[in-house]
Symmetry: C2
Subunit: 257 residues, 2 copies
DNA sequence: CACTACTGAGTACGTTGTACGCGGTCATGG
DNA sequence: CCATGACCGCGTACAACGTACTCAGTAGTG
């Protein structure tokens, strides 16, 4: 029975009752780790590197965090804290969900490594709980809790899927050390060969016709989001337009810092 | 200029022109790697372990694959090959997309480690190209190629998001070595504490009320999928019902082995 | 038949997460 | 007020990882 009573990173008290004051804090460690991951990717945020960043010895971190996996949990929850859901639920569910979705996407774009840090659902850190209360609260009055859960999963799935697409490119570029233009140049012969084989007509049209999207990334995300929100609206009890507006025009100006 | 002319794993010829016959093949190696990853997770599929599985020396694999990352690409494309899209496009886009979506989800459930193997978009292996042709072909006659791309991203995002949710649980259980019931038991005090704090009323209702979903996983996925397909239908040019059916009842019986 | 490009494999290196144990420090029980 | 022991930060050490380098053997080519 070594650590049989170990339960959960969020249960483990930050400050012990006895002994000398800790020189650092979990928040400080997570902050440094996030800083490194932002600059050089999650795989660069090794225990030694993080310790060096805050000026500590390598093994000191294990006084604060039981394992690197738990530290990643801390980092992920810290990121959730960046999403602004103040004043939610406001009564206008569509506005709330739109703001949350743009905030979530913006956070992903700021911290692309979240794509590889994503673990199972039950993280349940304080910041994630805050998001659950704010965002699911927006639909809470209109649908049963099961349905709400499913709708949130749909919304989160769209946002994270879209963000993952946008982000994975940049991540791959950084990880492999090959610039985007260089990658294109290297892929050119392969793509050319695919085109000439004639076996892939649709991919060929993607490669040749769909080169420049007529919408910017933000607009593309926003219009897809409106489609998803229409889906959600359709699942709500009828005669519940949320506000006067509906359809493809965003009822709330997308605020995407 | 060591490997400056290295382009792409798919360009590198499997068999060289000269020299003795290779004892193994890429397909065989990828097969073994998939077998190990299925049984023990992707992180267990190390180069040494794979080599041992096929009875080769550790370093021999590098004769076939330039790096482990490229091997993971091979594995991912092999998985795409499991998805049955024969006869697509059939003319009934809704049936085609439904079949594809169920096939994709089933593949994810068979190989949960794909969640952590997922890299950037431009994998473009032969199997993925096959899927692109078959699935995007279903909508090709109805929408411009850009729109088609966006709709496929929406569908893939839903399926992969849903599959990721289902799968990440199992992955976490295997990775941490903690069984689901044990995890629940360990989390109990934490959840209890959250409930008693009274700060998280909605999470509280999730924990207490939404315990048993009234639909099975398959049904839940299927009904969500129909919602997404409704979304896609709405984006198509009007008066294009695909077939007589529409709405929440699946026009095609979900085949999910 | 000679040549040579290619084969599978062994050894070795740098980096990772982390188990273990040390000497010092400070809140607390008597 | 002081002795005690829980806790601090940290150094050392280890196993496992990806993979660079090297070599003797082999089979297709001229």
């Amino acid at each position: 029975m070594t650590d049989a009573e170990y339960v959960n990173i969020w249960m483990r008290p930050e400050r012990p009752a006895r002994g000398p004051k800790p020189a650092y804090s979990r928040a400080q460690i997570a902050e440094a780790a996030v800083r490194i991951a932002d600059a050089e990717g999650l795989e660069a945020a090794t225990m030694r590197r993080i310790a060096a960043e805050i000026g500590a010895g390598a093994m000191s971190l294990y006084r604060y965090v039981p394992s690197r996996d738990d530290l990643v949990l801390l980092m992920a929850d810290r990121l959730m804290g960046e999403i602004d859901v103040d004043g939610m639920p406001s009564g206008d569910w569509r506005a709330d969900l739109t703001r949350y979705a743009h905030g979530l996407r913006a956070m992903w774009l700021r911290h692309p490594w979240i794509a590889t840090a994503q673990r199972a659902l039950p993280v349940l850190g304080p910041q994630q709980l805050r998001l659950i209360e704010a965002v699911m609260g927006a639909l809470d009055a209109h649908v049963p809790i099961d349905e709400n859960l499913a709708l949130m999963a749909l919304l989160n799935g769209y946002v994270e899927g879209a963000a993952r697409d946008e982000v994975s490119w940049a991540e791959e570029v950084r990880r492999s050390g090959v610039s985007e233009s260089e990658w294109l140049a290297r892929s050119y012969p392969y793509v050319q060969q695919l085109l000439e084989s004639g076996q892939y007509p649709i991919f060929g049209r993607i490669a040749t016709e769909a080169r420049q999207p007529r919408m910017g990334r933000d607009e593309q995300f926003g219009s897809g989001l409106q489609r998803v929100l229409d889906c959600i609206a359709a699942a709500l009890p009828a005669a519940l337009p949320s506000d006067g507006q509906a359809g493809a025009t965003a009822p709330v100006p997308p605020r995407c810092p």
